[in-house]
């Protein structure tokens, strides 16, 4: 037994925690006062530290520890959140990520982190690179007096009426105290025996988690005398000092009201101070609530980790079942036995449900891809000196694992593209009457058997003439052709191989990898990508992806004695037309289909299918599309629609023209799946 068996779990969980930290840091930047966020980050960092120390990755533990200290400072209002500080923390997270990746790849997770640790230490000491650290008025210092809310005053008031005295007690633990939380608990227990604790500072939750230095203040109502309380507390070991100060509720209330009034008078000068403080108090209270909330949601949603390989095996087995299901359905049709028929139908229904469940199990929310984008966008915007707000909509939309794994890079590319080429610099935006901050919307949603992912920016849009000129210069289109292109067709030119419109080559998206790579990646997933744009208003890239890659709906067709499958996703409709309705134009046979001229593709000729039967008076046509273009595939007859399992032709037959794969039919025979994209030019 060694640690290696835990390594996988460690890596997975570390990644999750880093992800949480990343997300929450971004949140924190938006709401620097929200202590619940800091707590969230702190928790993740703390767990990460513990895990990495257990696993023996010391650099990792060290850096996390240092980061934790800074977070602690923020939480205790010793450090004010600024983007400079966050930059350093982000860098630290980058280092952590690099280390985890190194471990995941079999490395030792060692990394030179001294510099970043030093930076973090400086921040912790309050010297930070840009020295924006201010000492917040810490309530636990000098004055004992606490402030109370309306509710607390009420409680105090009522206790007083019932003969209780109110005390404020400052408890100081010994510096070498080991079990701070335990001592706190014992103090509270002692106090609760003698009276009732109304309030504590820091709050109880923080005390329990040992998130305080050495002292804390509790407000207690009790019938006992101050001295008696003091003695009770001093009985708890490792207590250095106890101050019990009785106070009068009414006086305090008056004082606080007066102070509030004074503050109001001062408001002209220091308008923000009080509200901010209030906010902090609220946030502090809130801080304890999400704690409970997250715990609750975690227990409500039980999950187990399953190796993706096992799911793949399950999927493969199920695919076998689907093939046999097809076979059974065929046999039962042939035999026409009512009972068999009924059973098979029932089995089919059950297996359809099963299919849904298995497919769903492989579904992963696109969130797993999306959640690394805010970081990227933030960094990119800073590098480019642009202001960008990334809006993510529909992150919960689910996609097959295999698609998820592939979709990340194209999306990164499109996002970089939108920020680099789309969103303008703030001064340009101001000049053109737009808000300084550009918006990039990343939106995912389901529609039918597809998932759409859209990337929309409100930037400069695509310059039609510039694109066209470039396309002509680069020989992507000829001048004659260029004149007939619609706007949309021109925009699509940016996906052509060897195309880049940026005036200067930037480090961001001018790496020589064009949008053509994006297009081909998405097409290899069975998806499509389109672009629409309005100059000056922005652009919209839309990606359409299949829900799953392994089981697809097809239309089975027959050509002479051979059967082929055409994916339903590319079919617009089917038609049966008379031979006379076929026209000749430009050496090509075409038909008039709903007012459009659609070229015909004779599969029999393209696939060199041997003729055995005479041709008939009517021809069956499957109208398929690729983007805006259409074609009519000429077949002999339609067999029907079927769910089939997509199989590859293996490693021997690679790149067969216009065949994207194969499937096994109910009768055990193999049918080839037609790749319509290759047939439409």
């Amino acid at each position: 037994m060694d640690m290696s068996q835990y390594l996988e779990v460690f890596i997975d969980e570390s990644k999750e925690h880093l992800q949480t930290i990343n997300e929450q840091l971004l949140e924190l930047e938006k709401a620097p006062e929200d202590m619940s966020i800091v707590n969230e980050i702190f928790r993740s960092a703390h767990t990460l530290k513990g895990m990495s120390a257990t696993m023996g990755f010391e650099d990792l533990a060290n850096l996390t520890h240092q980061m934790e200290n800074v977070l602690d400072g923020i939480r205790n209002h010793k450090i004010t959140v600024t983007s400079e500080i966050l930059d350093v923390v982000f860098q630290a997270v980058d280092h952590l990520e690099a280390m985890i990746t190194s471990i995941a790849e079999g490395g030792d997770g060692k990394r030179d982190v001294e510099e970043i640790v030093e930076q973090l230490k400086r921040i912790e000491r309050g010297e930070s690179p840009t020295e924006l650290v201010t000492e917040q008025p810490s309530p636990s210092s000098t004055s004992l007096s606490q402030t109370y809310g309306e509710f607390e005053y009420n409680v105090l008031q009522q206790s007083k009426e019932q003969g209780f005295f109110a005390y404020e007690i400052r408890v100081k633990l010994r510096a070498d105290c080991l079990l701070k939380a335990a001592r706190v608990f014992m103090v509270f227990e002692a106090l609760n025996e003698a009276g009732e604790v109304i309030k504590s500072n820091p709050p109880v939750e923080m005390l329990e988690e040992e998130q305080f230095d050495q002292e804390f203040i509790v407000t207690v109502v009790s019938k006992k005398s101050a001295e008696e309380l003091r003695e009770r507390i001093m009985k708890v070991s490792e207590i250095e000092e106890v101050d019990v100060v009785p106070f009068d509720v009414e006086e305090r209330k008056k004082a606080s009201v007066a102070e509030a009034a004074k503050a109001e008078a001062k408001q002209q000068e220091a308008a923000t101070v009080q509200t901010e403080e209030k906010k902090q108090q609220q946030k502090q209270k809130k801080g304890s609530e999400p704690n409970a909330a997250t715990k609750h949601s975690a227990s409500a949603n039980k999950t187990i980790r399953v190796n993706i390989e096992r799911l793949d095996i399950l999927m493969n087995l199920f695919e076998e079942l689907v093939i046999d299901r097809g076979r059974l359905e065929q046999i039962s049709r042939e035999l026409n036995h009512p009972e068999l028929h009924e059973t098979v139908e029932r089995m089919s229904r059950i297996s359809s449900d099963l299919q849904n469940i298995i497919l769903n199990m492989r579904m992963v929310p696109v969130e797993t891809v999306f959640n690394r984008f805010p970081r990227m966008v933030r960094q990119l915007a800073r590098e480019l000196g642009k202001k960008v707000n990334l809006e993510i909509i529909g992150a919960e939309t689910e996609l097959d694992r295999t698609v998820i794994d592939e979709i990340g890079d194209p999306l990164v590319h499109l996002l970089r593209n939108a920020i680099d080429h789309g969103i303008e610099t703030p001064d340009v935006r101001r000049a053109s009457g737009k808000p300084e901050e550009g918006t990039v919307k990343l939106k995912a949603y389901h529609s039918g058997n597809h998932v759409f992912i859209e990337i929309e920016d409100d930037g400069a849009g695509i310059n039609r003439d510039k694109v066209l000129q470039k396309a002509i210069d680069k020989g992507v289109v000829s001048k004659q052709n260029a004149e007939n292109l619609t706007d949309k067709q021109i925009y699509e030119l940016i996906f052509a191989p060897g195309f880049s419109t940026a005036d200067k080559i930037s480090d961001i998206s001018g790496r020589g990898v064009g949008l053509d790579v994006v297009k081909s990646t998405i097409e290899s997933l069975g998806g499509t990508v389109t672009v629409d744009s309005e100059e000056g208003k922005g652009s919209l890239f839309s990606i359409q992806l299949p829900l799953t890659l392994s089981i697809i709906s097809v239309l089975l067709v027959e050509i002479q004695q051979e059967k082929y499958a055409i994916p339903l996703s590319s079919i617009i409709e089917t038609a049966i037309i008379k031979k006379e309705d076929i026209f000749h134009a430009h050496n090509q046979q075409v038909i008039d289909f709903r007012g459009k001229v659609v070229p015909l593709v004779f599969l029999k000729e393209i696939f060199e299918i041997p003729t055995v039967a005479e041709e008939e008076e009517f021809v069956s046509i499957v109208i398929v599309r690729k983007g805006e273009k259409m074609a009519g595939l000429v077949v002999d007859s339609f067999i029907g629609q079927q769910e089939v399992v997509l199989k590859s032709l293996g490693n021997y037959l690679t790149s067969v023209f216009a065949i994207s794969g194969a499937t096994i039919l109910g009768d055990g025979q193999v049918a080839l799946i037609i790749d319509c994209n290759a047939l439409i030019k």
Partner: protein, 150 residues
């Protein structure tokens, strides 16, 4: 297995145009009877298509055509030898597959210059076992060269 010396090669023997050929057993996955083959358009002429081999789509090569022999209709004796070379799995159509033999390594000779019909390239060597003459195939060459679809 104790009697088998290390210098012996276990081979599958099959017939092709009245000659006996042999393939080392470690390449052979199984031997199948001829079943329905789905033609794959626009591939090399010797690629007969694909079959459903227990749920796996497997390409089939007609060895007669691969070697440029005249083709004959498939009979009861015709077999498909499923071979695997690295990550490639392919079925080879042969006239018949007869038996498994141990060939002493010492009896394997390099291919003679003038062996009938089959290009010397595809041949790894020739082995004499008793009175039989076995032609040992070089599977890499048989599958490797010009295997791209035309």
């Amino acid at each position: 297995m104790a009697t088998v010396q290390e210098s012996e090669l276990k081979v599958i023997v099959f017939q092709l145009k009245n000659e006996e050929y042999a393939l080392p057993v470690q390449f052979v996955r199984s031997i199948e009877k001829v079943q329905h083959i789905t033609r794959v358009p626009r591939t090399a002429h010797y690629v007969k298509g694909v079959i459903n081999l227990r749920g796996v789509v497997t390409p089939i090569i007609d060895l007669r055509e691969r070697f440029g022999f005249s083709s004959v209709p498939y009979s009861e004796q015709t077999r498909i030898i499923i071979v695997a070379l690295q990550d490639i799995e392919v079925g080879l159509i042969v006239d018949a597959a007869s038996d498994v033999l141990d060939v002493p390594a010492s009896s394997i000779e390099p291919p003679p210059e003038t062996i009938e019909a089959v290009e010397a390239d595809y041949i790894h060597g020739v082995a004499k076992v008793g009175k039989r003459l076995l032609i040992l195939l070089n599977l890499e060459k048989v599958l490797g060269t010009e295997r791209r679809s035309s």
